[in-house]
């Protein structure tokens, strides 16, 4: 089984993120970066699947040279090789999906796993676009029923289940009112939710092995994709500071305010 997993570089939410005074972006100096946690879950799920069914996990990241750090992280976890699409300019979700489409066509995986969203822009679009571009089935928000402390989780059993004929996968997805199980024909696109698994910690032997795993370099030009964004970022700003609340005298006063001022009841 060949599985392609994305590994986006995102700002570490632990570092202090500030918007530049001119609103043209965020202050990048001094920031720490990490692999998008949803993608890390994707890598883990991919590793569990190939541990069970054999095959290989290929990780892909799009960005400047620095995204190699996130690729190395995924390789240190156990992914087999990496694809780096070298691109430093602006790019939007459609551009990313178009680049991934070409990588998929080149790699021909049985399954593509992406995070349902990345924790920087929280867009939740790329997986869906990609499935559409490829004309593949998609199962978004893959989750699972076992608790994180279950034996299954401890034994790192995959939650995405390959059917007996190996032609499709069953995925449990998180939906508004609970869980839904869907079956998708392979090849397919799956996006991960936070409760899918608990990713492993890269071990020192794994980290050392990752150094000799290959990272193939591609570019938008090589993939013949025009990544000129359709979406333009005009300005960034911090959310307005919350104003101090007020105390109401009693419940009727609260209801009155909720009804007349907030207009929510």
């Amino acid at each position: 089984m060949k599985i392609l997993v994305t590994a986006k570089r995102v700002e570490d939410p632990e570092s202090k993120i500030k918007v530049k005074p001119d609103g043209s972006g965020i202050v990048q100096e001094g920031l720490k970066y990490k692999i998008n946690p949803f993608d890390e879950i994707g890598v883990e799920e991919g590793l569990r699947l190939v541990a069970k069914h054999q095959g290989e996990v290929v990780v892909v990241s799009i960005g400047g040279k620095e995204v190699q750090e996130q690729l190395r992280h995924a390789l240190a976890m156990g992914a087999h090789r990496a694809v780096w699409v070298n691109h430093t300019g602006p790019v939007d979700q459609l551009g990313i999906a178009a680049l991934l489409q070409k990588v998929v066509e080149k790699e021909q995986p049985d399954l593509v796993i992406l995070g349902k969203q990345s924790i920087d822009d929280d867009q939740n679009q790329v997986g869906q676009y990609l499935a559409e571009f490829l004309g593949w089935g998609q199962a978004t928000f893959a989750s699972k029923v076992e608790s994180m402390e279950s034996e299954q989780e401890k034994n790192k059993v995959p939650a995405i289940v390959l059917t007996a004929d190996k032609k499709s996968v069953q995925v449990i997805r998180e939906v508004d009112n609970g869980l839904a199980t869907v079956e998708c024909q392979l090849p397919a696109v799956v996006t991960t939710d936070l409760r899918l698994n608990q990713p492993r910690y890269a071990s020192l032997p794994g980290i050392m092995k990752a150094k000799s795993k290959p990272i193939e370099e591609l570019t938008p030009a090589k993939l013949s994709v025009d990544v000129t964004p359709a979406i333009q970022v005009l300005k960034m700003s911090s959310p307005p500071a919350r104003k101090a609340g007020i105390k109401v005298a009693d419940v009727p006063a609260l209801v009155e305010k909720l009804h007349n001022e907030a207009k929510v009841v």
């Binding site: 632990e14 100096e29 990490k34 240190a76 910690y201 020192l204 150094k211």
Partner: protein, 602 residues
């Protein structure tokens, strides 16, 4: 299970990066052939894994392990049930063999990086890390001194994480005085030895989460001379391999010691050979047991020092978070009781307590990393001269690196309790537990008293003063760096002055020792240890101040971080370093209050 504690960073990641890459140049180690496979990337990935494992997996288990010590039933020790899961996961990270060469399955990681990675694990839950630390120490001894057979039989399963190890030195009559070890070894026809005797306080000597424990045991070969020269080292397993299985090796747990800290790992009294069937395997040459142990002592003591830092840093971060949240009182001068109370961090005296903790914790970490860095150079420096010089420096710094975090870390831990007020004294909060844990570090691996004797009686006078000379050169380099960076010149001058005073003390006391006045020379050894600690940490604070100034000078972001560094350095130079003249006077004059005091006057 008790409820999860609030998140605690354990160590500041920012500070770790600063210490590794701005104060020291840890990546420069990668230029040495031994560490050529490493780069900042491998360090970062490993630190990332260990700190996350520490925070997400180990830390939430700490309180429960402290509250539920192992039990002793049917002659066996039963440890906290979580150990079954946690030990293999800890081993999986690869830290058992991390600093070892590839031929024993290691990755030749610099000790500097290993030490700081383990600090996160110890800060999170020292009860779990202790098993790994002990096993690593025992296996390393076998790696260096064991025969191929002993290595295959005992070292390999320990390095694979299947068995654990212990250091079995102490006996009731032989604690600080290991020369008095009485456990006996007699040769057996099969080439192994029969061991008989008793040990006490042996940490990790029994468990039920893996199949075997190997005790690295000091014993005296039948007929050997008295004193340290008669002591040999043996590998003595709890269960010995025989006929393809493990059979009982006649090592009995005679009792469990109830103690105030490190509650998750049992400290045991052991009886060897009650039935005359305890087999041991000689490690290293006969009569060289203590010498073999001592060869590993620096690393072991550096780990104890790191534990002191770890136990103080977790409490420090808890205290800072608490002080930001706890409203109590109003700013000085405000009488208006209708004004809301301010968080206690607004009170200058609370900031005094926090800054003192920061200065001890981060000064201690810096000292430990400087010592580890020299240990890396001592083992793998490019030429013999570098290795020798670094070796002398590690020897010199080790008693300080071991005892400073233990003694002043205890003070920092007490301050963390104090910042929490009455809540700190209650077991609903964690600071009291860390205070209990910390106390051990001034007792095991050589008490502080023994470290003082070692420093003054041996280390500062080593190589005819060559060690102290090298230390002076290191200080000189730092003073020059600080001056160039624009650090207040008074600090560098004060440090040079304190160093000169220390050198005078050493020369005078050394002369006394040479003329046979040994008691007078060593009378204030503990005060000298304190003096040297204050001096060495001042050196580290000057290095940190220099790096902070350099960063501010180049307009680096995160000015708050660097300003905090400068304030802590200022504290050290204003409050701690001025104690050097007093301590120096005690040492030089041989002030005789302790010496004159007679036992019957107490």
């Amino acid at each position: 299970m008790t409820t999860a504690p609030r998140p605690n960073p354990l160590l500041s990641d920012r500070d770790v990066d600063f210490q590794l890459y701005e104060v020291l140049d840890a990546t420069s180690l990668c230029a040495l052939p031994a560490f050529a496979e490493h780069s900042r990337d491998t360090f970062t990935l490993l630190l990332d894994s260990t700190r996350r494992f520490a925070r997400e997996v180990l830390y939430p288990t700490y309180r429960d392990m402290d509250a539920q010590p192992p039990s002793f039933r049917d002659g066996r020790v039963h440890v906290h049930p979580l150990m079954r899961e946690l030990y293999p996961r800890l081993v999986e990270l690869g830290l058992l063999t991390a600093t070892r060469p590839p031929d024993v399955g290691g990755q030749q990681l610099p000790l500097t990086v290993h030490a700081v990675s383990t600090a996160y694990l110890m800060a999170a839950n020292l009860n779990v890390y202790a098993w790994l630390g002990l096993t690593l120490g025992a296996a390393h001894l076998l790696e260096v001194f064991g025969t191929p057979e002993v290595k295959a039989t005992f070292m390999e399963p320990m390095y694979r994480g299947e068995w654990t190890g212990t250091m079995a030195l102490t006996e009731p009559q032989a604690g600080s005085s290991l020369a008095d070890v009485r456990t006996r070894a007699t040769p057996a026809p099969d080439g192994s030895w029969r061991i008989q005797g008793s040990k006490i306080f042996i940490s990790g000597a029994d468990q039920d989460f893996s199949e075997n424990v190997v005790h690295l045991t000091l014993a005296r070969i039948e007929g050997a001379e008295g004193g340290t020269r008669g002591i040999s080292l043996f590998a003595v397993p709890s269960r010995r391999p025989e006929g393809g299985t493990l059979v009982d090796n006649d090592v009995r747990v005679a009792g469990v010691i109830h103690k105030i800290g490190w509650k998750g790992i049992p400290s045991l009294a052991l009886n060897y050979g009650e039935s005359g069937d305890c087999h041991g395997w000689l490690v290293g040459p006969p009569g060289r047991g203590l010498a073999c142990m001592f060869q590993m002592m620096n690393e072991a003591r550096i780990m104890v020092g790191m534990n002191g830092v770890a136990t103080a840093t977790v409490a420090y971060h808890e205290a800072v978070a608490y002080a930001r949240e706890r409203p109590q009182g109003r700013p000085t001068g405000v009488r208006d009781a209708t004004r809301p109370q301010t968080p206690i961090i607004e009170h200058a005296d609370v900031r005094r307590m926090l800054l003192r903790q920061k200065a001890i914790v981060e000064g201690g970490l810096s000292l430990l990393l400087a010592a580890s860095y020299q240990a890396d150079l001592a083992g793998h420096g490019q030429d013999e001269a570098t290795r020798q010089r670094a070796g002398l420096l590690v020897d010199l710094l080790t008693p300080v690196a071991k005892s400073f975090p233990a003694e002043r870390g205890f003070e920092a831990n007490a301050l963390a309790v104090q910042v929490h007020g009455g809540y700190g004294y209650s077991s609903e909060y964690l600071p009291e537990a860390w205070l209990r844990d910390q106390k051990l570090n001034s007792i095991h691996e050589g008490t502080t008293g023994i470290q003082g004797l070692d420093l003054l009686g041996r280390k500062v006078v080593a190589g005819g003063g060559a060690a102290l000379q090298s230390f002076a050169e290191e200080v000189g380099t730092t003073v020059a760096r600080a001056r160039a960076a624009g650090v207040t010149p008074e600090w560098g001058e004060a440090l040079e002055q304190a160093l000169a005073e220390t050198t005078t003390v050493v020369t005078e006391l050394g002369a006394r020792g040479m003329s046979g006045e040994v008691e007078l020379m060593l009378r204030h050894s503990a005060d000298f240890l304190e003096l040297f600690s204050v001096l060495a940490v001042a050196w580290r604070w000057l290095a940190q101040a220099a790096a902070a100034k350099e960063a501010l000078g180049r307009g680096a972001p995160d000015a708050d971080f660097y300003e905090g560094k400068l304030a802590a350095a200022q504290y050290w130079f204003a409050v701690e370093l001025p104690r050097v003249p007093l301590l120096a006077r005690l040492c030089r004059t041989g002030e005789d209050s302790y010496a004159r005091m007679r036992p019957e006057w107490f």
